[in-house]
Subunit: 475 residues, 2 copies
């Protein structure tokens, strides 16, 4: 079994390498053949993961690794091969159609593909089984042990608070022009700052690096090889820097997992909601804090002369500027979750059949208006903006807000350790990293996400620390 | 069979991707795991290539593809698995030992490994079989159909001419300081020039790119994905530019192969001696010519202001400057082959047992002195400079000089076409590329290298055009 798991991890990480290369500058001509390489390896992995040898090997394991691998085996074998192949074809066509639809701002181009993907998602849910609703079966693939009803209850319980906090935050920022920090930021200088910041937070560049991409992500190419990616705005260094802080959070989690268990669940990240808690921790709780900028503003001023006249008290509100805007990935901390509430509601309704595909643009715009006070200018800035559905990623969005909530809860728990909080106040964030390594990273997938949260903070996911954090920051 | 060949090509090109990444900036920490990934895929490829299904599939093929795949199958299956594994372990230890030996300038650190590699090479040759001498069996792996005796006769026939040409060339350059063209050459400006030049020669950047590495190479990651690599000297743009011209030559060959036959010999490069003919063609026959610099010197002067006062008549001798120097990869056109003659002689003597491993440094230095008129300062600049032997690459060096000879012969044949030569004189090198595509690239491995040369030029490899070219340039 050990050999089988090692083989799977060699092939999966090879796939990640092919994918990483594809997203960081592979020539356009490579696309078709690269897709064949990845499909071939993915097929190999799937057949290993569903092989009789794998099933028999489960008996040689014990504890959480047995539990998790059994779960993965069951999920993989419950889907008929025909469905797996159909999904792969459908989503690859859907991705292309989505891309075209977004380009042309034409929802009907994407609609029939979304319809097929929904049908596939429902079929998958039926094969996997669920207790309350089909959405459960999808969500569980991203967030082990999570139940849709509980997530919905959690989101409902904070929706009005989030709306109120966002309104206050946006109002407070109203006097600050959006281009307040803009100026010429040469990319090499941005790269210098990104590297210095990530390194000082503990990212190990002997086991990782930062490359350029269109849609930033963090990829694990091996147990000691974590790749961060970013993109650059020449007039605003904070765009790339906060992106890098976010990906550094993902990367620190990956670098903190037990490398010797790379082929086992105990050496792998436990869920998207926990992963996102780490990225948001370093992006928001660290990167938008006063101690962080007390340390880094002088360095930024060295690199970007147009900032030299700014005092920290002018700079800090600018990096925490809030506004209602149509695009999720550009959203600030105060309005981000509103984007998620919208998507969670719509995709749940889509899956249950309550909402028809053809009605999505209208439903999106009307929901959006309730939350943001205006309607998106077009579907490109509305229901066509995210790639997730086109990849069959239904049930994914909720984990972004779970991540936000978890990040505040973990940050609050860590700050209770005087060694963490006193160092933090002085701009030394390494004790915070050590706390995360000890309480989160090192456990891999040994515990269910909610048990991990409880073990680390004393309670399961609890939105209060998050609301408190947002209120402190924006009121 | 077709499916099997496609699978092999998917896996091989995935290996190339892993290797390319390793050489273009993968973090140090990735090395061990990356080696495991590559070893795993290499093992898979080997087992597919030696499988009964492969053997049976040969019957479904015909013509050159059947001939070449049968040859490859026989070579692969003639080696016992034990030997293949032993070779892989031995060469991976030897590579590390060579690296350390070169670093410490200590031949004894490498000697026992070279001994083992020689023993392995002899064993492989016995398994493969040969007519005249063991060296034949090794050389054939790089240069299909080549015979050691014939190569030796060819080299012997031109050795004194080469020595005389080198002496004249070096003497003529004596008055020119080596740093004649030096000045500050910012890397982004070098990258701009490299890109513009490679593109104008016909390299398709929608199907390729240029990255930075320590030891430049060209890698094929897919039928439409060819990666060139280079390194930069901040004080001398010609170092990187001529490197790029060389790799562009390799890349144009790869881009010119029939992409639909990527999985078949008919879609693959035929030999190292032909591959090197293409790289040397664009590096030397094009890149060091007057029409090339009539076109490109003005652009270089825009990018590198220190060149602005130079006239073409001063610039051209500087890029064709010759000197006796100890390092092969830095050698100029007039002295390069002397380095090869030395290596070919020594490795042939090593393999036959005529020369003992312990005697290599002394033999190298004494041979070197005969050819170059001085002794290398140390083994680092002598017998430890090349990586080839440490990788088990015995029988490889001869193909560099074959490449030089072939390049002149092909260039002369192409120039007989008035469309090629008149365009060439005006700095338009695309007709030359078309000629190479038609006469060399498109044939893949359909013909043996010598038959391909004959078909393209009217005769098998003939050193006269090369000697004429060198005499015209340096006398």
């Amino acid at each position: 079994m050990n050999e089988l798991l090692h083989e799977i991890s060699l092939l999966s990480s090879t796939c990640s390498t092919l994918d990483w290369d594809q997203e960081t500058g592979a020539p356009a001509g490579s696309v078709t053949f690269r897709a064949k390489q990845i499909a071939h390896l993915t097929g190999k992995i799937h057949s290993l993961q569903t092989s009789p040898a794998f099933r028999d090997g489960l008996a040689n394991l014990s504890g959480p690794n047995q539990r998790e691998l059994t779960y993965q085996y069951q999920r993989a074998t419950k889907l008929p091969l025909e469905l797996v192949k159909r999904e792969s074809e459908t989503s690859s066509l859907a991705k292309a159609a989505w891309s075209e639809a977004r380009e042309k701002n034409d929802f009907p181009t994407f609609a029939p593909h979304l319809e097929k993907l929904l049908q596939l998602a429902r079929e998958k849910a039926e094969h996997w089984g669920y207790e309350d609703e089909a959405y459960d079966a999808l969500l569980a693939g991203y967030e082990r042990g999570a139940k849709t009803k509980e997530v919905a209850t959690l989101f409902d319980s904070i929706a009005s608070d989030l709306a109120e906090i966002a309104a206050t935050a946006v109002e407070k920022s109203a006097s600050l022009p959006p281009a307040f920090l803009h100026g010429h930021c040469p990319i090499p200088a941005q790269q210098t700052l990104n590297h210095e910041v990530a390194e000082s937070l503990g990212f190990d560049f002997t086991q990782g690096r930062i490359d350029t991409t269109a849609h930033p992500f963090c990829a694990t190419l091996g147990p000691h090889d974590i790749r961060l990616t970013t993109r650059y705005e020449e007039h605003d260094f904070t765009s790339s820097l906060f992106g890098v802080l976010h990906e550094t959070g993902h990367g620190l989690y990956e670098q903190g997992l037990p490398a010797s268990d790379f082929h086992l669940p105990s050496g792998q990240a436990v869920s998207l909601g926990i992963h996102e808690s780490q990225s948001r921790l370093w992006e928001n709780h660290v990167g938008r804090s006063r101690p962080f900028w007390e340390k880094w503003l002088p360095r930024a001023q060295e690199l970007f002369p147009h900032l030299r006249s700014l005092h920290l008290d002018q700079f800090l509100p600018a990096v925490n500027r809030c506004a209602y805007s149509p695009i999720r990935v550009e959203a600030d901390e105060a309005t981000y979750d509103l984007h998620i509430l919208l998507r969670f509601k719509l995709e749940r309704a889509l899956l249950s059949g309550e909402l028809e595909v053809a009605e999505v643009p209208a439903a999106w715009n009307s929901e959006f208006e309730k939350l943001f006070g205006f309607r998106p200018a077009n579907n490109r800035e509305g229901c066509l903006q995210d790639i997730h559905w086109s990849m069959g990623g239904l049930g994914y969005f909720a984990t972004y807000s779970l991540g936000n909530i978890n990040s505040a809860q973990l940050f609050q728990a860590a700050q209770k350790d005087p060694a963490v909080s006193s160092a933090f106040a002085k701009g030394d964030f390494l004790p915070l990293l050590t706390w995360m390594q000890t309480n989160i990273h090192t456990h891999g997938s040994t515990f269910f996400p909610q048990d991990l949260m409880e073990k680390a903070t004393g309670s399961k996911t609890d939105p209060q620390p998050y609301l408190t954090h947002l209120r402190n920051r924006f009121q």
